[in-house]
Symmetry: D2
Subunit: 457 residues, 4 copies
């Protein structure tokens, strides 16, 4: 009989082994699992539950098992279900009876809770690092084009002129919130669950604070049943990852739009675009498209774990095994997307002539005309209505604002005067000079602030 | 420069290659891709776009490439992006210039649409087969226990006695609808897209009906732009799989409940249960729990593809590459879950003594008492109210219905008489004898009907 | 004590009444509920379970209750929980004891299953009608612009010229599949559940086939436990609605893009656009944006019901009450979106000059050049590579294909000759003349086929 | 022409008005909208953009409009689209031209961002209050039953005995994390967006810090484009609400299980249960079931807003209007569920005799036997295997551990001695005395800690 089958009369059916084995994906946790086991062995020795010599032997063997895994020479076995049993079994192979003592005062339930928490803490660290890398790339691109003007859009209609740098800084802000969110989500991951046993705690004089210190946790769990049932920290990562991917999907959408012939606001570097198997002229923004598409998988992963957790009675249920693959997938997706975006943004060429020209067509200064009237004493809502009529008149006469004569202006409002012609794209941008506005002075301040933020990490 | 980079000055960045390459997962489509290419080559020859000899050479080489893949000796390369380019590249290696002609009148856009449709059709076939296998297992278990009685539940409260077989047949019905749903979803997969080119069709005298016949499709696509943009058939599979997993999660939930010490209605076979690393007495219904948990991943996959497709402009966008992994995962999950459930159900032992005893406790026959009064002329709503009071009285006096004296009955309604004692669990079941009801006569008919359905496939 | 509280000692807590009452939303089902009750009363009389006179009285009273509801003078009460109890209570008010007999051989469990099925069947009918209305609008717009050419896109990059009508017909195809899908989903809704009782069937000599005929169902349910537990037909509607909204979100995205200053391919009618509270010049495609946004709510509704159904033990559980609001919301959202889209599409002005001009810029004919070489004997993959180089050369020299000299062509391939200049946007379109291709001949055929489809309904 | 239609030639189509109007649901924001407008008017006056007298008039009128709304006498109009235009229009009705000045230096884009942030901050406050109320109810129930023992479960199999209070405290911990999460999510809501205008900022000398102080915000937004595009704070609320509902669905599941005849661990108060329309004996845990079912709608709402936000280009798009209904629904659902759960938990009767009896059946002390052997020197893995055999032996001989003779024990391991009989449910619980374990000493400490937490708020 295989391990853990003491009470059974039959081995597990082959297809059940395949269905339930997690070793194919949880082997990824080997470093965390071994770190946990080493700390556990040391704690057992410190508390005289095993001898120092036994602990030493176990630690040594675990270290060599980790080496085997790192070198790719460890023979994982499906029959041994998961990373824990694979390691324990090899440990016993190596050190015999002593190895059978490692699982004293421990269950796979608190062990996997520990491994997952170590993994999530590491993932958060890496995610924040990559987020900042992309923030820097955005900042570099913004600074390199800090005087360029582009149309700001609402409803994908040109709305008001803005600085290109101002637009990019909007993404900087999104990523800043992402960084904060991942910081917040560390809090609930940073709780040491070992010592919870299967669910009820363990009947040994263990030292959980020692374990926490050894493993770098700032807190220990306060309720053993909760500790083995809880996957909030996984969901929090998934939720934060979903929001981050949502932000990236918006950036992706804009890069795709801007790369189109119709917009032509940006040129992605050849190294970040791909060709077509059929159409020789194509230069496609595949990276941005794929990132936009991958938003779906991260949302899906969030829903998956939420669904899995719904209505589970306490404490540990095998359903919880499903927390892993979707998490690994979200972490991998987010990290690689951030990584490739940093390169794509950093190498992109902004085409300032195209964006400025786009601000000079159409009636993008209409709000400025309304504000002009307000400053002359017209109530805003009336000014809005006057300029609405003026726009209609201009369209029908196929004239730009500049091409309208002063008489035409005056026929809509007596308050219009020759100074109306001094309203330009540049004056428009410059005028929006409250904090957060697009005026060069404000944007300069924001660029400096942003630089400080990324440098201070 | 690598293939398709004719117009570029730079190779693609290494991390972009990794980010965009699909070969790791789309190699799974090799059989479908090669089948499509063989049909395409034959069609090109038939239409004299290439020579018969060229076609023969191509077909021969493709066949040998398929062999290499089946033997696991094909060297897939990330640099060649996807399964199509890997195969084409090897083809050219094998047959030189002739191989360069295969992609005539074709694009990867219609090629991958073809591969996916072939794959989905095959997945549907396999899914239906496994659904029927599980239906048979349910039917076997139902027939083997066709006289056993159990409490039927609403709100997880014992409601009315039912035949165990009747309860199992409810799952048979769910699976029957699943089978029908997968049949329906074949319709939109069974459309041959080749000949759509990149999006606009192709400028060659191709024969699309020939391709459809060769590849076993009953229809050809009618609009080339739609054909390369459409993934409805993938979503339909995902939706049908989600509903099927929902059904299985309900069955899983019941198997878990029934395996608990509290219910004790069923004993799962040792070969379908697992032990605990800590608690030696445990015999856990892991398979059922894991299936219940995996419902999350299939729902997640459905949401993923829906999200990915949202608001994509026509026609092909690289986002569509994200249709694959989630589909493969749902197919694998559903097939393996059905497979392992068939074994688990077939080997389960129903404990008829426990289920019958459960029907004999409590007031499960209260509705029968109300119906008794109705037959004596009391309006139903009044009868309901009378029996409600009777139940309250019985609880307070800690008596079962049987233990209540006829005087106690009469104090609630003069219509009660000694024949009230002839109401039993068996009479209750027997009385529900309209089509679909739990009476043995009806259930027997249903078992026969179900057997006919699964045999007729 | 209120109805159904016979066995309780206390009334329900006020906030529990509010929490559990469904009358605020399920009153919407009053027509279906009353239709079901009328049929039920007639069946009871036909089977002599109640007298003909009683049935007549009940039917009359129910009819007058329906009138009260239609006139908005019915006083719904939260205390009576749901539409069923509100109606039954009013019935008893009207006809006394006879009214207490209506619920004989029935439970709210099969009653609500009936109501929902009647509702879904009606919703499917309405949905298909609106889908066809939008198909007609697309067809009208396509026919009105059947000669216009626009760039076809892949990766939002101009790829190959296509007919505008061909592009619109891609949406026609999507909607055609939607219609088929809603037809398919009628099948599982069209099953009459009455007679299932609470879960076990009923102990009366009912005639379920009679009920089915009276209520217009083609089938009766075969298993009473399944009949009260099953909401597959709701999920199927939600899934089909999600796919339909996905299609509409793609159309919305394109209408938004095309309405932008950058594309300028279309002008939406003033009646289908809105202004800005601040910017007087704005004309926003709000309808399309809102529809795109509403895709989220329909996806959310699908996931909601799937989540709710996950792992529910049989048979009826109160969780099922949550099937309604999300369904009503999806039906309302889809119907109103289809309706407003039909008007928006029908009134849109296509700007053929802008779309044609867009095909004349850039290297959209590159594939045609490659095909040109193929026809002269160059293997396709080599031709692709040659034209890739040519495109690069042209970009660097800021020349269009037309502006390249024959010597420049020849320097890339000897196969180029003067006839290369006869490749035009029109010749390109015309050449794609296989079924499904963008050639005028094919598109004409498709328009005729589409017209036949919508007329034949 | 209606407001904002200055540039249009036609009114909006009736069905477009209905489709796009948000007044039916955003009127709920009237208090927040008016508070924002009052602060805005004061700021305009303070900065001399309007006169003090004008501001006074506006504030007075807005106050009286709020009164009209509170009294339900305000006539909302669909034609005026949203809450902003309804209020502005009434304002102009009341104070004429002065009212037309209110929208100076403001856009609906920053106005709605403000309203939503005020709303979310208020929702967070209320949510935390209700979470704490439920924590208190759990704590009261735990304290009232602090000595009761029940089986702890893994895989819904009895695993080890635990204190009932310990089990309830697991939920306390979940809710504690929920409280923390809602605190965290306040951070990104607590940012004042006014002054961002439509997207680019405003060309007036506004004082945004003054606005923040007036409206109780701790920060102002730093980028105007982000400020009108950002709904992270909505998604964060939705994500936190989803996790909280997941926790409640687990509690609901357990209350349903415990209320079943099979478990019988708890009796819900009559005031928190409902009856059946058909079965007079039924007492159903409807509240718990409905809460479990409503988990679906909250998950759906989260996915809805994530889907809506996916791939939206900057800045404001009408899609964002879809942020509201789903948020309101999640807030209402979560608050009412917490509220009704607090009452249900507080009034529930725990049945300590039933739970204790359940720990005395079966082999729940198997782990303790293994630990017994470990303390005698047997390595844990071997001890586990020995006890596994012992369990199998006991099952086959239909004996409990107590009924096994010392010779039977010894035949499995020589280390067993007479003191094995002193292992009891109570000794088992008492032994798990590390922090977080189920020993009475630990649980007492946890109860005190929990009480401190809820009192300290």
């Amino acid at each position: 009989m295989k391990p853990l089958r003491g009470r059974f009369r039959k081995e597990v059916e082959k297809k059940v082994v395949e269905y339930t084995a997690s070793i194919d994906f949880d082997k990824r946790l080997y470093k965390h699992d071994i770190a946990g086991s080493i700390a556990h062995a040391r704690m057992l020795a410190k508390q005289a539950i095993i001898s120092n010599k036994e602990a030493e032997l176990i630690v040594m063997a675990l270290t060599s098992i980790r080496d085997e895994m790192e070198q790719g020479i460890f023979a994982f076995s499906d029959d041994l279900e998961d990373v824990h049993m694979n390691i324990e079994s090899r440990l016993i192979e190596k050190v015999g009876e002593v190895g059978q003592k490692l699982h004293t005062a421990r269950s796979r339930n608190d062990q996997i809770a520990l491994d997952m928490r170590l993994y999530v803490k590491e993932a958060i660290y890496n995610t924040i690092e990559k987020l900042i890398e992309l923030q820097k790339a955005l900042l570099d691109l913004a600074e390199a084009n800090k005087d360029e003007i582009m149309p700001g859009y609402t409803h994908l209609q040109r709305a008001q002129p803005v600085l290109f740098a101002h637009h990019l800084l909007a993404y900087f802000e999104m990523l800043r919130r992402d960084v904060e969110r991942f910081h917040d989500c560390r809090k609930h991951a940073d709780v040491m669950p070992l010592g919870s046993g299967a669910l009820a705690g363990v009947p040994y004089p263990i030292d959980r604070e020692f374990l926490a210190r050894e493993l770098g946790f700032s807190q220990i769990s306060e309720n053993s049943i909760d500790a083995v049932s809880d996957r909030d920290f996984v969901i929090e990562y998934q939720a934060a990852a979903s929001i981050a991917m949502m932000h990236l999907s918006r950036l992706a959408e804009e890069l795709i739009l801007w790369s189109s012939a119709e917009f032509g606001f940006i040129e992605l570097d050849d190294a970040y675009t791909t060709g077509s198997s059929l159409m020789p002229q194509k230069k496609n923004p595949d990276v941005a498209e794929l990132a936009r598409g991958k938003t779906g998988r991260v949302y899906g992963n969030l829903l998956a774990i939420l669904t899995t957790m719904k209505a589970l009675p306490l404490s540990y249920n095998r359903d919880l095994q499903e927390d892993k693959e979707s998490l690994f997938d979200s972490v991998d997706t987010l990290l690689s997307t951030l990584d490739v975006f940093a390169g794509m943004v950093r190498t992109a060429k902004m085409k300032g002539d195209k964006t400025r020209r786009a601000t000079e067509e159409g009636y993008i200064l209409a709000t400025d005309l309304a504000d002009y009237l307000v400053k002359k004493g017209v109530p805003f809502r009336e000014a809005h209505s006057i300029v609405g009529g003026l726009v209609q008149h201009a369209i029908e006469n196929e004239k730009s604002f500049k091409e309208l004569g002063i008489d035409e202006y005056k026929s809509f409002s007596q308050y219009f005067d020759n100074d109306v012609y001094s309203i330009t794209v540049d004056s428009s941008v410059k005028a929006r000079n409250a904090v957060g506005g697009t005026a060069p002075e404000q944007v300069k301040r924001q660029l400096a602030r942003a630089r400080t933020i990324v440098e201070s990490v």
